[in-house]
């Protein structure tokens, strides 16, 4: 402390104070410049995120419309795909599917340079219940090994399908990325065997109801 007082009283002390003052001034100047830059950047980023938020709402809106549309095939296509995954025609084991869906948009829908990634579809709470099953039967051969009757694959006459579908994708624009996760609940979809035999394909009799239960944007 005594030493410090001596230095401050001396001519050298004045030099120290001047150097400190100049350094502090330079640092303040740099900090002010950084603050200004950061503020300008934040304002631009806010606008970019607003653009992406509206784009995310639009994609979600159109996807919901497409799933529910009476004339289009997206909703029924997914229902049929879910049924086939649980009841594969080739007798292989059932798997919970996951598909990738691409989206194409009208000109001017997104700002130049903005892009929507492929939409990843994942399913949970998948339920497929069968009704009026047609019994399967193995092929029948006589003693000479000649085929008497062909094998019949067991096949339900009807099925009800329910699932929760998570559609996730990203929107990128000006080096910013927003991750969107939409959750849809499918209820009341039904398939029926409209053919005459067990080989007839199941078709979607009721497309069911799709409800958007969650729409989250992170970024």
């Amino acid at each position: 402390m005594k030493k410090l007082k001596e230095i401050l009283r001396s001519r050298r002390g004045a030099s120290y104070i001047i150097v400190l003052a100049v350094t502090a001034f330079l640092l303040l100047l740099a900090a002010a410049a950084l603050t200004a830059a950061s503020s300008a950047g934040e304002s631009v980023a806010d606008r970019v995120y607003k653009e992406m938020g509206v784009a995310a709402d639009s994609v979600s809106d159109n996807l919901m419309y497409s799933l529910q549309s009476e004339t289009e095939t997206l909703g029924p296509g997914i229902v049929k795909g879910l049924y086939d995954s649980q009841y594969p025609a080739d007798g292989s084991a059932a798997v919970t599917p996951g598909w990738e869906m691409t989206v194409s948009l009208p000109a001017g829908a997104l700002p130049e340079g903005a892009a929507v990634s492929a939409i990843k579809l994942a399913f949970t709470d998948l339920s497929v219940s069968y009704s009026q099953a047609i019994a399967g039967r193995a092929a029948l051969y006589d003693e000479s090994g000649k085929l008497v009757s062909a094998a019949i694959k067991a096949k339900p006459a009807g099925a009800k399908v329910g699932a929760v579908m998570t559609a996730s994708y990203t929107i990128t624009y000006l080096e910013k990325t927003v991750t969107v996760t939409d959750v849809f609940a499918l209820t009341g979809a039904e398939l029926a065997d409209t053919g005459t035999g067990s080989a007839a394909a199941m078709t979607v009799a009721k497309r069911g109801e799709w409800r958007l239960t969650s729409h989250e944007k992170n970024g």
């Binding site: 330079l26 410049a33 830059a37 709402d57 990738e100 829908a109």
Partner: protein, 111 residues
């Protein structure tokens, strides 16, 4: 005046001053500070330039939306799942919502 000149002359002829070690350390500290300040200034300049460029792009977009270049234009939204062989498409209209373009299904967008 004379007194000041005498004092200045005395100081200049004096052998007192900072040691070499003090001077070198001072120079080092000053160099570090200057480098930090230069880095901060160039970084902020780069950020400002980038923000300005982005702001210009957004302004161009705003002008286009305000001029109606996109608003009202119709197009098609299509969803395709290759694994299922399913493609679904429907008409959509681009509309302005608070100065930002949104695209809504055609039937919903109609007034």
């Amino acid at each position: 005046m004379r007194k000041t000149a005498d004092r200045l002359r005395a100081e200049l002829s004096s052998r007192g001053g900072e040691t070499l070690v003090e001077t070198v350390i001072s120079l080092l500290i000053f160099t570090v500070v200057m480098l930090a300040v230069t880095y901060m200034l160039t970084t902020s300049l780069r950020l400002v330039n980038k923000a300005q460029e982005t702001a210009r792009l957004l302004q161009d977009r705003d002008n286009a939306v305000a001029a109606g270049d996109y608003t009202g234009s119709a197009g098609t939204v299509a969803f395709t799942i290759d694994a299922l062989g399913v493609t679904s498409s429907h008409g959509a209209v681009v509309k302005s919502e608070n100065g930002i373009c949104a695209f809504r299904p055609e039937t919903e967008a109609a007034p």
